[in-house]
């Protein structure tokens, strides 16, 4: 039942915030804060107290018939993986509300409604274990996100919003066809029509069919992740979205792609995924290097961060298809760390844009003197993003590389090159924006340092990335049972990965 509340609270809250926006903009802001805090508390109450990895995999479940005629039920299940991602979602949504306080001044009620509904959709994606319900939420989260970009974005927002929508919707429909074929095959073999994920696990089919179905799912998630060559929507969407939109996109929506790969692609089609792994890992390595290279070449600060996201998400793709405990632990930490560090960078870029009305680094420079706090945080998160030991991103990338080393040395070597490239573009960002000669800021520049709300947000984010870097063990404990269930179902019947997966974490 608590899972239903987890969904209902932000959904209803969104409607309330919309209504209250008509009375006074502040009301919808406060309602959003209260609603999200409440939801965060609900989610926190689900954390299992165990300090070892020996608690049951499913923490909570909720099931009601929904469309019984088609074998569809409203089935929500929560394991450690979902929980960790939901916590990240709610924390980042809460932060998005805070940092939009001064940035969003038009149609404030509708803005917060869309923000809360995006959150609802994402939480639904992380909870749904009925494939139809999953698809429902998958599509549902697009609509409010589209409006966030299209209504409150920057100069080229309509183009970016439509591109984002078309890419994700198109790939989503391919996944729908794959889901239906899977369901019909299952019905054909067992005589039972169901969209239940747990029932569909281990459906018998020939390897060609399995490969095509796996590809259908893979494309949907690879677009969302995004993996090269499906990444072209991301720089536009990130750049044109309002700050809160970028934070949600980078912090949360990209993670739904990673979650989908973990939860669905490999467990449902273990053998096909295993056969496909070299291709996926090649795409991952290309993504890591190509994203880093493009990030290096950007003048627009937001685009730089966006391309760095592509590079970081490449690591996640690599880790998922390495599919052993080390790599999967790394994937989880990388998701969290990337959400926090990239979210923080987007917030800082947004704050800079509020002050100097440009994101172009050619006009920046020497900001450290006038904006010491903003610049310090900027440097910290740039360094976090390049993977400095002691910070969260390092743990994620290191574990992923360690895990993939067991599977393929070549891919690991090339992927590790991405770390070097990350150092280059991150330091370049710091250098161009915060150091050097004082830039020629455009007219209307008002240089004032971070205000208290931003400071609080940045401090929280800093603490969490340091915590994740120094002591990630609680996260591992939370996700371990869930991941081991996934690993068992995702184990290919042949191949070396099966052996590696046996090793304890």
């Amino acid at each position: 039942m608590i899972l239903l509340w987890l969904l209902a609270v932000p959904a209803v809250g969104g409607a309330l915030a919309w209504g209250a926006g008509a009375a006074h903009p502040h009301w919808s802001r406060w309602i959003s804060i209260v609603v999200l805090s409440l939801d965060l508390l609900l989610a926190l109450s689900l954390i299992s107290p165990a300090t070892s990895s020996s608690h049951p995999a499913w923490i909570a479940s909720f099931e009601r018939p929904w469309i019984p005629q088609l074998g569809i039920s409203f089935e929500l299940d929560l394991d450690g993986l979902s929980l960790v991602l939901i916590l990240l979602t709610l924390a980042l949504s809460l932060i998005s509300v805070v940092i939009s306080w001064t940035e969003i001044t038009e149609r404030v009620g509708l803005f917060h409604a869309n923000l809360l509904w995006t959150t609802t959709g994402v939480i639904g994606v992380f909870l749904a274990l009925d494939l139809f319900l999953f698809f429902f939420f998958w599509e549902l989260m697009l609509v409010p996100m589209y409006f966030l970009i299209a209504l409150w974005g920057h100069e080229n927002r309509f183009y970016a919003a439509i591109k984002f929508f078309l890419f994700t919707q198109g790939s989503g429909l391919i996944m729908l066809v794959a889901i239906l074929v899977l369901v019909f095959i299952h019905q054909h073999t067992t005589g039972h029509l169901t969209f239940d994920y747990l029932a569909l696990l281990g459906t018998k089919m020939n390897s060609t069919t399995a490969f095509w179905l796996m590809l259908g799912f893979f494309i949907a998630f690879a677009v969302k992740l995004p993996a090269v060559p499906f990444h072209t929507w991301l720089p536009d969407a990130h750049t044109e979205a309002p700050t809160a939109g970028s934070v949600l996109l980078a912090g949360i929506l990209l993670k739904t792609g990673a979650y989908g790969l973990l939860r669905f692609v490999v467990p449902l089609f273990p053998d096909a995924a295993h056969a496909f792994a070299p291709v996926a890992m090649t795409l991952a390595v290309i993504g890591i290097l190509y994203g880093a290279l493009l990030a290096f070449g950007q003048n627009d600060m937001k685009r730089l961060v966006a391309y760095s996201s592509i590079s970081h998400m490449g690591f996640i793709l690599l880790g998922v298809f390495a599919w052993n405990s080390l790599a999967l632990d790394g994937v989880v930490v990388q998701m969290l760390a990337h959400g926090v560090s990239t979210g923080a960078l987007f917030i800082l870029v947004g704050a800079l844009q509020e002050r100097i009305h440009t994101r172009d680094m050619r006009f920046m420079g020497g900001l450290w003197a006038s904006l010491p706090r903003l610049s310090a945080f900027g440097m910290f998160f740039a360094i976090a993003s390049l993977g400095l030991p002691g910070l969260g991103n390092f743990i994620g990338e290191f574990l992923i590389l360690l895990g993939s080393f067991h599977v393929s040395v070549i891919f690991t070597v090339f992927a590790a090159g991405g770390l070097v490239a990350a150092a280059a573009y991150s330091l370049l960002l710091v250098q161009r924006a915060f150091h050097g000669r004082v830039g020629s800021f455009p007219d209307g520049t008002r240089l004032f340092d971070l205000t208290t709300p931003h400071l609080v947000v940045m401090t929280v984010l800093t603490l969490s990335i340091v915590g994740l870097g120094l002591y990630p063990q609680p996260v591992f404990y939370q996700v371990a049972p869930g991941l081991s269930v996934l690993q068992r179902s995702g184990q290919a019947s042949t191949g070396p990965r099966a052996r590696v997966a046996e090793q304890p974490s």
Partner: protein, 479 residues
């Protein structure tokens, strides 16, 4: 005619009586409000009576009709849609200040009568009569109340092409009758089954019937009239053409194919698949080029009929149910979309609010209608939480279940293309307004209430479709 048959046929008899009553009322007293009110009450009564004929079904009524679950379901859709069109028409005409508009309701009723007998038809005679009554009444409605540009053009175009379509239809029927000697759908099925399977006369006959029906359903390549007529007709009538006539014609061809066993003809299936793919792709691609919302929705309706053909081609119970749900979703959505256009239009001004620029900044000037149109467009695009989403899911399921590879691919590609132009309208509505639009029509409250009711239906059955699917299982599932 037995008592059971009489009871079962009561809604349709009532509609016929109602038409005559309204005609006499107009003769007695010309009063717009009075005529509209009696039409609306009469149509609501027909909807209610429908429920009383349900227990007697299925029952044959003369050799021409059968009243069964399928027929009642589609007749219900026709009555309900006609009712909503009537209410919206009142709001639309009342704002026009047109002195004489009572006959409009009379034509609306005869058109509805023609549409309502089609789902029950099991014979060429009733098939043809229904289609002709529908088309001839529509002709009057399309050109009605016209300081509008293009009304006469639209009317003439419809007259000529609809006439040509009817000729094809009639010729096809004649060929089949000449070959098999019967006009009853079921007998045709039996004769065709026992006879030569590659019977050329029969196949040519069916192909000609499909050509005629293709015109009425505006499938590619018989779609050329659609955008012009949609644009030229008054907005409520556009809704009627887009919804009521499509539902009626689709239901009769569905029954014909099921009873006459035409799904077994591979060549026909091949041709229909091609028509479906062309409609999905062509409709969506051509819609990309439009700057007029009515034309845009016209092309989009071509694509939607193409989607429906996927369920039609699946030709099993899943396909039939998918078609039924999708038609219901399409009816609710399209009525909502055209209803909003009608409410925003002031027909006295010479044209409806149909340019995309007319919708610029609608979120600021008419937030409720803009929100409603957003939901309607999302439903047309097949996004949750609307009926369109479930409908599209159902159709894809039917297509996948029927192993229709290329039609399903076209459905997916078409949906993605479609999304683009629906979003264009959304973007226009969200644009900031530099100047307050010239035409800010006061929208009557009951008009908004109708739209609100449609929205509630759209979202409720989009989030919790089980009751609708249960109803479809009880009614359409039998046939």
């Amino acid at each position: 005619m037995t008592t059971a048959a009489f009871r079962a046929f009561a809604p349709f008899t009532l509609l016929g009586v109602l038409t005559i009553v309204v005609m006499l009322l107009i003769a007695a007293r010309r009063d717009h409000r009075f005529t509209a009110l009696s039409t609306i009450i009469g149509l609501s009564l027909c909807c209610v009576v429908l429920f009383f004929s349900a227990p007697d079904s299925p029952v044959p009524v003369t050799p021409l009709f059968i009243v069964d679950g399928t027929a009642l379901f589609y007749a219900g859709l026709v009555f309900g849609s006609a009712l909503i069109v009537a209410i919206i028409s009142y709001a639309y005409l009342a704002s026009s200040g047109h002195p004489v508009c009572e006959e409009y309701y009379l034509l609306l009723l005869t058109a509805t009568l023609g549409a309502a007998v089609l789902p029950e038809s099991v014979n060429f005679a009733s098939f043809f009569l229904g289609i002709e009554v529908l088309s001839i009444s529509l002709l009057g409605l399309i050109a009605y109340a016209s300081p509008r540009q293009g009304a006469a053009e639209a009317g003439t175009k419809y007259l000529v092409l609809s006439g040509a379509a009817s000729a094809f239809l009639l010729f096809g029927m004649a060929l089949i009758y000449a070959e098999l000697g019967t006009m009853s759908f079921a007998r045709i099925g039996v004769e065709a089954h026992t006879g030569d399977p590659a019977d050329l006369y029969r196949l040519v006959g069916v192909a000609m019937i499909l050509t005629g029906v293709g015109f009425k359903l505006s499938l590619v390549p018989f779609h050329m009239w659609t955008p012009d007529v949609y644009e030229g007709a008054p907005a409520p009538i556009t809704a009627f053409i887009a919804v009521v006539s499509k539902i009626a014609v689709f239901s009769v061809i569905l029954r014909y194919f099921n009873l006459a066993g035409n799904h077994a003809d591979t060549s026909l299936r091949l041709g229909l698949s091609a028509v479906a793919i062309l409609s999905m792709l062509g409709g969506n691609l051509l819609a990309l080029l439009q700057n007029n919302v009515k034309r845009l929705l016209a092309y989009s309706s071509i694509a939607h009929l193409g989607y429906l053909l996927v369920g039609f081609l699946a030709a099993d119970s899943l396909g039939n149910r998918a078609v039924a749900y999708y038609l219901a979703a399409y009816a609710v959505t399209t009525l909502g979309a055209f209803g909003i256009i009608a409410l925003l239009s002031a027909p006295g001004k010479g044209r409806d609010a149909d340019k995309i620029e007319d919708y610029r900044g609608l979120f600021h000037t008419q937030p409720f209608l803009a929100g409603a149109l957003t939901l309607a467009l999302l439903s047309l695009a097949g996004m949750p939480p609307t009926m369109g989403f479930i409908g599209k899911f159902y159709l894809v399921a039917a297509g996948v279940g029927g192993r229709l590879f290329w039609p399903v691919v076209a459905l997916v590609v078409g949906s993605v293309i479609g999304l683009y132009y629906y979003l264009r309208v959304l973007v226009a509505m969200a644009m900031p307004v530099e100047h307050i639009p010239v035409r800010r029509t006061a929208v009557p409250l009951f008009g908004k209430a109708v739209i609100a009711a449609l929205l509630v239906l759209l979202v409720t059955l989009g989030v919790y479709p089980a009751p609708a699917i249960a109803l479809i299982r009880v009614t359409v599932g039998q046939g």
